[in-house]
Amino acid sequence: MLTEFANPEKFERIARIAGPAATVAALACAATGLYFGLVASPPDYQQGDTVRIMYVHVPAAWLALFAYVFIAGASVVGFAWKHPLADVAAKSAAPIGAVFTALALITGSIWGKPMWGAWWAWDARLTSMLILFFLYLGYIAVWEAFEDKGRAARIAAIVATVGVVNVPIIHFSVDHWSSLHQKASVFRSDGPTIDPAMLTPLLIMAAAYMAGFVGLLIASMRNEIAARRLARIEAARPVSEVLLQ
C-alpha cells in the first residue's frame, strides 16, 4: 500500500475524491456532534454548561498529539524508505497539528477562566500542550531554515523523532511538577468515568476533528505536490524566456 502511493499521479487520483469526502464527513460529524454536545446533552452537575467547551477542547488536544505522532511516523517512513509522499505528508501535517495545539490551548484557557478563575493555570496538561506547541514550531522552523528541501526533509525527520521520544517524558515531568487539574477521565484502565450522554457527542466530535485533519492534510499535500511541480517547471525554463517575460 505504501509503495502504491509513492506515485504522485496515483495519489492525486485518490486524493481528488478522498480529500473533499473527508471534509464533508468532518462537517457532517461536527454538525451532529455539536447538536448533541450543545443542545441534547446534559450540563455537568458541577461545571454546568461550561462543560460543553469539552466537546471542542478535548478532541483538539487529542488531534494535537495524534498529528505529532503522525508526523514522526511519516518521518520514519520517509527516512527509512525514502518515500517522497511521506515527507510531503509530514511537512503538511505540521501546521495543521500546530493549529490544533493552539486551539486546545485557547479553548483550554477559555474553559479555565470560569473553572480556575484565571485564563491560565500552570496545570499539567495545558503546560505540556504549550511545550508541544513549541515542538511543532521548532519542526516547522527546520523546514523553513533549509533551502535544499531534500535535506530539510531528512533533518526535520530526525527532529520529529527526537521530539516524539521526548513527548512522554515531557508529559510525565510536567505531570509530576503540577497537580492542579482533574485527572484523566476517558482513557483509564477501569473504563471511562464520563457519562455516556457526554461521551457520545465527545466521540462524534473526535471523529469530526479526525476527518477534518484528514481533509486538510490531503488538501495541503496536493498543494505541496503542485508547488513542487511548479518549481520544477520554473527551473527548467530557458533563461531567455524568463528574461523576455
Binding site: L132, A141, R154, N166, I169, V174, H176
Partner: protein, 218 residues
C-alpha cells in the same frame, strides 16, 4: 578512544585559550543571576526562596547561548568533514563534543554557582543539593545541545533555531533539576529522574546528533 580524548582535550583547550571565550559563559551565568535578582527585588527572603530555581534557569540559559559554537568553527574551516569521514563510530565523536562542551561551559558555571548562591542568599544547607543536581543534570543539556547544534550548523544565524529546537526538549531536565535542588520530600526521587534523563540524553543526543551531522555533510 584516543580520538575521543583528543577531541575533548582540543575543544577544552580551545575554549580556554585566548579568543575561546571559555570564561565568558561564566560571566553570562553570573549576569543572568544578577538580572534575575534585579527583577525580583532585594528582599532577602524572596531571593532565598527562589535562588535554587534561578540558578538552574541561569545554568540552562548559559548552556543554550553557547550551543551554536559547538560545531560552528569546524563547519566553517571544513574540519567537520574530517571529523565525520575518519570516524568509525560517529556517535562517539558527538559524545566527545558534548563532553567538551560540558567541561568548558557547565563545569565552570557549577564552580561559580556557590558564589552566586551566596549573593542570592541561598540557605547554606541547600547548597549541596543544588551543586549535586547541577552536576547530574547539566550533562543532559550539553547532550541535547550537541544534537541541536549539529542540526543547525550549516545555517547562518543558527543560534535562535538551536534554542527553539533544544529548549522544549530540555524542559524535563529543568523541572527535575530545580525540584532536586530545592530540597524537601521531592528531592530524592527528582534526583533519580534527573539521572535517568541524563542517561537517556546520552543515547538520544549522540545518535540523533551523528545522524544530522551526516545529513549536513553530503
Amino acid at each position: 578512544m584516543t580520538a575521543f580524548a583528543a577531541i575533548v582535550l582540543r575543544d577544552v583547550a580551545l575554549a580556554f585559550r585566548a579568543g575561546g571565550g571559555g570564561l565568558q559563559v561564566v560571566l553570562f551565568f553570573v549576569l543572568a543571576a544578577l538580572l534575575f535578582a534585579l527583577a525580583l527585588g532585594p528582599d532577602r527572603a524572596t531571593l532565598a526562596a527562589s535562588a535554587a530555581s534561578l540558578l538552574w534557569a541561569a545554568a540552562l540559559f548559559s548552556a543554550i547561548v553557547s550551543f551554536d559554537r559547538m560545531f560552528e568553527a569546524e563547519f566553517e574551516d571544513g574540519s567537520v568533514d574530517t571529523l565525520v569521514e575518519t570516524s568509525e563510530v560517529l556517535e562517539l565523536r558527538v559524545l566527545a563534543k558534548a563532553t567538551a562542551h560540558w567541561l568548558s561551559t557547565s563545569l565552570p558555571v557549577i564552580a561559580a554557582a556557590p558564589i552566586v548562591a551566596l549573593l542570592l542568599n541561598l540557605p547554606a544547607d541547600r547548597l549541596w543539593p543544588l551543586l549535586a543536581s547541577l552536576l547530574v543534570g547539566t550533562p543532559a543539556l550539553s547532550l541535547f545541545g550537541a544534537f541541536g547544534s549539529a542540526a543547525a550548523m550549516a545555517l547562518r544565524r543558527a543560534g535562535l533555531l538551536v534554542a527553539l529546537l533544544t529548549a522544549p526538549v530540555m524542559a524535563p531536565t529543568l523541572i527535575f533539576g530545580a525540584l532536586a535542588a530545592t530540597g524537601g520530600a521531592e528531592a530524592e526521587p527528582s534526583m533519580l529522574y534527573l539521572a535517568a534523563i541524563t542517561l537517556l540524553a546520552a543515547i538520544i543526543g549522540p545518535v540523533a546528533g551523528a545522524a544530522v551531522l551526516r545529513l549536513n555533510m553530503n
